[in-house]
Symmetry: C2
Subunit: 574 residues, 2 copies
């Protein structure tokens, strides 16, 4: 007989480990245990099932060749036994037994293993606020919750939703409610920006503006303090600032590892509750492996361990566990944090660390932002894709990259390419010379990502001085804060005209890019000029020209008005 392998947890990492090891050791006896009756589904597809893009939950459990991944499928196709509705109660490491209980019948049995794999995943956090247990308050923990939500919507029971948490899942769910169902949806985010830590403030702001434009109400810096109901059913969400009516509340405030079983078995677990594994994904008991949302994995950039609850990583890790179970010593290098998200007509993506995260980690980090075209500017479908590179000014290593653009794969392409460079420990010079594929329908001759790396190079070399969008916006809100600042607007005078009119010639100088060399003597020597154009490119050039003419008291608005316009400001002249 072959090796006995028992896997606890039947979604993503678990089935992947099972199938991989069966392919490498066809005579292994592999058993998957799961307390649910639905297994091996694409959990990341839940928002698209709720929205209706995916009509049937079965599609989330189907293979690409339209077979449903149920118990019979695993047995017939993979030779793997899947025991559903079966809860693992405890692990006897000495005897190598897992005690399980059939949830329906209550029958218990001990299943022997040579190797055990723990892929118990994560559970959603529930805020400790009054009303969190009311009927109609959901976390997005499994497919059953998704089915229940969609049923309520289909029955017409839901006209107002409050989503607590402005991370990826909260936003994807908000889109699902709003886009197809026309439900009045509000996102509450406790932090000062949505997608905190994932992207920096500028990118979060562009996304937030697009969400608002698309009909989602977003409140940042605002926590839910209570959920109120009537007859046990949710009615409203209370914050320190307002009360929001709601027939349904989604709580999407992060997850934590399900590691109780591992902990009870005496396996090493991190202070945060994540199962500790080595590079081969072995726990502190070498016969027991773990993978997916329940483990602590090393971030390649910071070298620190943390939970990394992403379906893409769970699948990678599952394969690595399968290899090691079969005696192939594959190692997991760690993760960097690549993600992408659809939000209505836009996409947002990032890889590596945000500037905030990089600074918090102690890197000598800096960031540059551009707002250039995704394809040749003469190609009809071209669009602006703001990109940001975060890098270490000492080592020149790329630490992170963020992108925002239309709903296409344009941002994906740049983020995947940057992820490859970051994963290989590459520098901004590597990113500058990265030979991206070019033709006018797909890119610019010097790709926007290369160009952004070049801007990073200029910044690193001291050839560029920036004003951040945040500082600029603060100034626009309160001119008194920086009395000696003036805008130097390089755009065509018909674009700059309304700004000069609104903000006066004292605060807003209009000198078109092409005329600077002839007219620089008109410019003030006693003021700090904030140089503005659409993409930031002309501004950077003109900074050098002005410096050359001795007018060195100037700063470039990186990413220019292409960025500001997407962030949305109240002060834009009509």
């Amino acid at each position: 007989m072959g090796k006995k392998i028992v896997i606890i947890g039947g979604v993503a990492a678990g089935p992947k480990s099972a199938c991989r090891v069966k392919r490498l050791m066809p005579d292994a006896e592999v058993t998957i245990i799961d307390q649910d009756n639905l297994i091996s589904y694409g959990g990341c597809g839940i928002p698209y099932y709720v929205s209706g893009d995916v009509s049937d939950e079965k599609e989330l459990r189907n293979t690409s060749f339209h077979m449903t991944r149920d118990e019979a499928f695993f047995l017939k196709a993979k030779g793997v036994t899947a025991k559903t509705n079966t809860r693992a109660l405890s692990i006897d490491r000495k005897e190598k037994l897992v005690l399980v209980e059939d949830i329906t019948s209550g029958t218990q049995e001990s299943i022997p293993y040579d190797n055990l794999v723990i892929t118990t995943g994560a559970r959603p956090n529930v805020l400790p606020i009054p009303g969190a247990d009311l009927d109609g308050v959901f976390t997005i923990s499994d497919l059953h919750k998704a089915i229940a939500i969609k049923e309520r919507i289909a029955k017409g029971e839901v006209s107002r939703v409050v989503v607590i948490g402005g991370g990826a899942i909260g936003i994807e769910m908000a889109e699902a409610f709003t886009d197809l169902w026309g439900i009045e949806t509000t996102i509450l985010e406790f932090m000062p920006q949505i997608m905190p830590r994932l992207v920096d403030w500028d990118f979060a702001k562009m996304l937030e503006t697009h969400l608002q434009e698309s009909g989602v109400t977003v409140f940042t810096g605002e926590a839910a303090s209570a959920i109120e109901g009537k007859d046990g059913k949710v009615c409203r969400v209370v914050t320190p600032k307002r009360t929001l009516e709601a027939d349904l509340v989604v709580m999407a405030v992060g997850v934590r590892a399900r590691s109780e079983l591992a902990q009870a078995a005496g396996l090493l677990v991190s202070p945060m509750g994540n199962i500790v594994v080595n590079e081969r994904l072995q726990t502190s008991d070498p016969n027991i492996y773990a993978a997916g949302d329940c483990i602590e994995v090393k971030n390649i950039i910071t070298g620190k361990g943390s939970i990394a609850p992403m379906g893409s990583l769970a699948n990678r890790e599952g394969r690595i566990v399968g290899d090691n179970l079969a005696g192939i010593p594959t190692k997991y290098k760690g993760w960097i944090g690549s993600f992408i998200m659809k939000a209505f007509e836009h996409s947002i993506a990032a890889t590596g660390l945000s500037l905030d995260a990089a600074l918090a980690e102690g890197f000598a980090a800096a960031a540059v932002t551009t707002a250039q075209s995704d394809r040749a500017h003469f190609f009809p479908t071209q669009a602006v894709i703001p990109l940001r590179i975060i890098f270490d000014t000492k080592t020149r290593k790329v630490l992170g990259c963020q992108g925002f653009g239309p709903m296409s794969d344009a941002v994906l392409a740049r983020i995947d390419a940057a992820a490859a460079i970051i994963g290989q420990g590459g520098t901004i010079d590597d990113l500058s010379q990265l030979e991206m594929a070019y033709a006018p329908p797909f890119a610019t001759a010097l790709d926007a990502l290369n160009a952004t790396a070049n801007v990073a190079d200029n910044l690193a070399a001291g050839r560029l001085r920036y004003v951040s969008t945040r500082e600029f916006l603060n100034w626009m809100d309160d001119f008194a804060s920086q009395p000696d600042w003036v805008a130097l607007d390089l755009r065509h005078s018909n674009e700059a005209g309304s700004f000069v009119e609104k903000y006066t010639k004292e605060k807003w100088l209009s000198v078109p890019y092409i005329e600077i060399r002839d007219r620089y003597q008109e410019l003030p020597k006693d003021k700090t000029m904030l140089i503005i154009c659409d993409a930031g490119t002309r501004s950077s050039e003109i900074q050098i020209v002005l410096d050359h003419f001795g007018l060195t008291n100037n700063l470039v608005l990186g990413g220019g008005f292409n960025l500001i316009r997407r962030m949305g400001v109240a002060w834009w002249p009509n």
Copy 2:
């Protein structure tokens, strides 16, 4: 006064060098010389100008902020003098002078330089066949030719075009003629496949089939032996096999460096006629730099020098020349050969070496091909993107990657990511662990590129035995050639049924994937089974299962019928 820099050649690398050095050394005196009156245009945009996607040739000369890059623009915006209609006649390296002639007036003058930059580009090859000089025979050498072609079309003078050369430019032009103008267009390619050396046969075949479906006639392995005309105007193209009527002929059969000026000045030029430069893009005279289509640059993968005539590289090289002119010792690592091309409703792209090229270079190369979804298979817009990875079986280094898919950026994303790995000298393991961004609207949890790297890993480890698409197709054309081969079709029986009917139960076995473990005993032991499914994934699994049951005489059809269907075959049952 600043350094005197003279640049010969006003498209791509030349203007880029000029602008970069002016940004680094604002007091440099920079002069661009060009024999043309149009400079700094996006030559890669010519097919889109001819097609009408780009309405005015000026758009190819405009900046993203809608200013035309003419002499006045360079002077006012960049502080660079552009002398157009001016031909460089000779270089006096001792006196550091360039002798130039005003083409209109015939006046000559000597322009002194401290540094010279040669960016003279390449000229299209003209086949030495009768009639190549007839009116109506065009090469795509500059914007004037494009304007002339479009004028003829607009006047209604063109109803049939023959494009000689099935490389990227030939195909892009063929699309331009066919798509908007409805011109009857034929491509003649001398080699046995279109895009020779750029992609392998399978990918060329998928593209060719799509071209044919889109109305372009393609003949491969067929050379133009003569062009015939009447009253000096082209009428037809003659091949050894047929005569093709034509009002217009495009000759797109490669380019060679314009290096006569450099050669006459005694600069080192390769046997192929490319200007030899070092990593800082200095010629054999350290005061003279060269960049763009006229130079020989090192291929990072092969270590060999060659011409690399691509607009994307010219721009990168121009920047590096600018750096070095200003005393920043930036080095050019070399090129790998990334490209992408739109062809009607599809895109095709590659980076690095094709399998053919890798084998010809002496690598112990192997290739795997997959045909998986670009996004989650349950997401409505998902499509199959065949991907191929070429790798070195000894070092596991990735040598190349090819992709074919719908007209989106899906293929771009995978090729750019692979280009990053190849440029960094990465292995198939790096590609397997490359953390690509995931969400169902953009990718599969394990991206198609990661999955292809995993297949490469399986092949490298001896866990996979292939039949190539070519061998398979040969067999389908002639069953007698392999009398002991049978197909083992794993698809649903309703898909396989018509094949069994057409090819008989002796040659075509239908056993659905899910039933193999129950029915393997029905399978023949004395035959070589070619295992077939849609994507190749199920086949690979079943190979392992059959091997385990002792039925080891079997081969997987990599990429499966997803690939075959796109390649187009006459034998598909109705």
